[in-house]
Symmetry: C2
């Protein structure tokens, strides 16, 4: 099976948001962040603040601050 790396933060957030029938505005309000940030996050803007990303992920009971997901070689 081809490259099944896992999703980016952007696609994860977007999928979850849609799954929850939310608009970017609603998610933003829930997370306490701006609409524009949600939009940029979903589209993969790299230079975002970790704390703000986590505010969004917290809505879905997730977080980024714990483990580093591996991308290439080298086992954990």
């Amino acid at each position: 099976m081809g490259q099944e790396f896992g999703e980016t933060i952007g696609t994860f957030v977007r999928d979850r948001r849609k799954a929850g029938q939310m608009t970017q505005r609603e998610l933003g309000e829930l997370a306490g962040v701006g609409t524009r940030f949600v939009s940029e996050l979903e589209r993969g803007k790299p230079s975002v603040r970790l704390s703000v990303v986590n505010k969004v992920l917290a809505v879905f009971g997730k977080s980024l601050g714990i483990v580093a997901a591996l991308r290439q070689d080298e086992q954990p």
Copy 2:
């Protein structure tokens, strides 16, 4: 077995750095970030830029941009 949640980004980076016999300055140079950032990252400063964090993690072949690690309830 108490709280075995996985490490924070800070402890992960510090452990890996020490395991590699590196000083903060050396890691910073390798990653292309400043010494102060390495120090703050290791001590768990929450508001850091995702792109810069990933520059450091890249040194260890890791990344943060892929999967959201789960912290509480709710299965993946």
